[in-house]
Subunit: 149 residues, 2 copies
């Protein structure tokens, strides 16, 4: 998936997991990282197996998403250009550990793909503000979420 | 524990966990948060049950530690003043969900207190650099780590 972003300004950046006795260190983001555009807020979201959270679009926030626990499927939908509407799917887990950078104005949905809770960390360039978020019902953008792992 | 920091410049800041259907949102840090002193790097450390990682002292890094998974005991030891050497212990889990801010020049150790892996997130003001880290063997600062939960 790395280096093959379909949607302009979306980045998928591989991250290191460093094994040490008694537990590992997992990189998330540096101030010098590709995709970093300032620090506004960091927060976690838990998601249960099979649960879908869709769709949300940020008008200003740049998302930088990692998944330190479990496995999450992110689905991005770009309708910025009517002539070039497209989806991009990125699955992040320990086995494919990376950071997903999402620019503003992209519709984002995600789904828990791990039998148990999964967790994402979002390192965002601005603080949470309901006024910069657009929402749509899950069914309003056609996508086959399925349940396959 | 909140508001009762024993060591100067150490902060224990309660954080919100917001329940939503299918998973919760857990705050970690905002750019406007108490204890924020710039963004250098964010990384996760996993730690197994009972495992102790001690002692490490950062000469420049300010640590901002949260525990989104499991339960971790942090032990801080301040020997900046010979006449006023002291320990501070902070246990962080979902049940006591907070952010621990540690200024430079404090010895830090931590231990996994959850039967399974625990995980911390450190949001640090500088990027990781081995040259600003001092280390001591676990036995070189006397502390009863025990194993009790």
């Amino acid at each position: 998936m790395e280096g093959s972003s379909l949607i302009e300004d979306v980045l998928v950046t591989p991250l290191a997991i460093i094994s040490t006795p008694g537990g590992c260190v997992m990189h998330a983001m540096k101030g010098s990282s590709v995709g970093y555009s300032g620090f506004g807020e960091a927060y976690f979201s838990q998601i249960e197996y099979g649960t879908i959270r869709a769709w949300k679009r940020h008008k200003e926030m740049v998302l930088n998403l990692t998944v330190p626990v479990g496995k999450i499927r992110f689905v991005l939908f770009d309708d910025r250009s009517v002539s070039n509407r497209q989806f991009q799917e990125v699955i992040i887990s320990e086995d494919h550990y990376c950071r997903l950078t999402v620019p503003p104005m992209i519709w984002v949905g995600f789904q828990g793909m791990h039998k148990g809770n999964s967790m994402l960390l979002n390192i965002a360039n601005i603080e949470h503000s309901p006024s910069e978020i657009d929402r749509k019902d899950v069914d309003s953008i056609e996508f086959n979420w399925g349940y396959s792992d």
